[in-house]
Amino acid sequence: MKIKDGYLLREVAGSNIVVPIGEGAMDFSGVITLNDVGAFIWKNMEEDITKDELVRKILAEYDVDEETAKKDVEEYVSSLKGADLIAD
């Protein structure tokens, strides 16, 4: 799974924000704000990746246990799916 094309993640004044670019920019004028873990997951999902690989990446980057990492991944992936931001 990966993030759909047409979005740009950038740090602005300490916040991780996502904005649509290209055709999507015409119909969505909002801004998505992500916390640091969310931004990390987003960046890694710009290329095709599995949930298990995401968990491993989080464990390598952050000082968290596997259970927390799995929970984070589940939560983020389901909210990204809910917002129709994932291309299968």
Binding site: V19, I21, S29, G30, V31
Partner: protein, 235 residues
């Protein structure tokens, strides 16, 4: 073609209708090489006119030359904030809001309260902001929305204020995080990725370094007093 210098950018620009002839006159300049050329073909103006028949061809030229300029501005560490900008004590204060909220009404109140020479409107609708020499400047431009209130000058940016109507007058400082979506609603959002990166990198600098406020205000002298005392730059 006309030669204008807007926001310290040399523009070679084509226009022929009254509004641009009148508003452009204050920005005429002489230079050898333009930084930007704006040459919108007549057929495109006519096409846009067909799509928006409620506007005159004069309005269309004014709107689209402005849009072209503000898009080019992104390449010069700059962006447009949809706001009414008033200059007081050597700083520009930008009051930003959706059309019809009362940003021009509020800055007109400043002029009435302090006198027109002590509170000048640098641009009533679309001032340019640029980062040069590590400092943020506000510039007047010929494109000032429905009014002709704009002055060909540059002034340090004092504060950005998001204005809303309210029965009582109040000011609250806000964090950059809260200001990001507000600014994004009040600028031209570029479609191309490279231009969006330029805009966001500019906003990163602006929102990290300038004071940001929300202002709730009515139409009164007290609105000016609360606003001025709440946002003015302390020397």
């Amino acid at each position: 073609m006309h030669k204008l210098r807007v926001a310290d950018i040399n523009l070679l620009i084509k226009y022929k209708y009254d509004t641009m002839l009148k508003q452009g006159a204050f920005y005429e300049a002489d230079f050898e090489k333009p930084n930007v050329t704006i040459d919108i073909p007549d057929e495109m103006l006519e096409q846009w006119h067909k799509e928006s028949p409620h506007l005159t061809i004069d309005d269309i030229e004014y709107v689209y030359t402005g849009a072209s300029f503000y898009e080019a501005l992104l390449h010069f560490n700059g962006f447009m904030l949809h706001s009414s900008g008033v200059v007081k004590d050597g700083y520009a204060y930008l009051f930003s809001a959706d059309p019809g909220t009362g940003k021009s009404t509020h800055t007109a109140l400043w002029q009435k309260y302090f006198g027109e020479n002590n509170a000048m409107i640098i641009n009533d609708d679309k001032p340019a902001i640029r980062l040069t020499d590590n400092k943020l400047w506000v510039y007047g431009t010929p494109w000032s929305g429905k009014t002709d209130k704009n002055i060909n000058m540059k002034v340090p940016l004092g504060a950005i204020v998001f204005l809303e109507r309210s029965e009582n007058n109040w000011v609250k400082e806000i964090e950059p995080k809260e200001a990001i979506p507000l600014v994004m609603q009040q600028t031209i959002r570029p479609v191309e990725k490279d231009k969006m990166i330029m805009l966001l990198d500019m906003l990163d600098r602006v929102l990290s370094s300038v004071k940001l406020y929300r202002l709730g205000c009515n139409i009164s002298d007290e609105a000016v007093e609360v606003s001025y005392n709440g946002i003015r730059v302390e020397e």
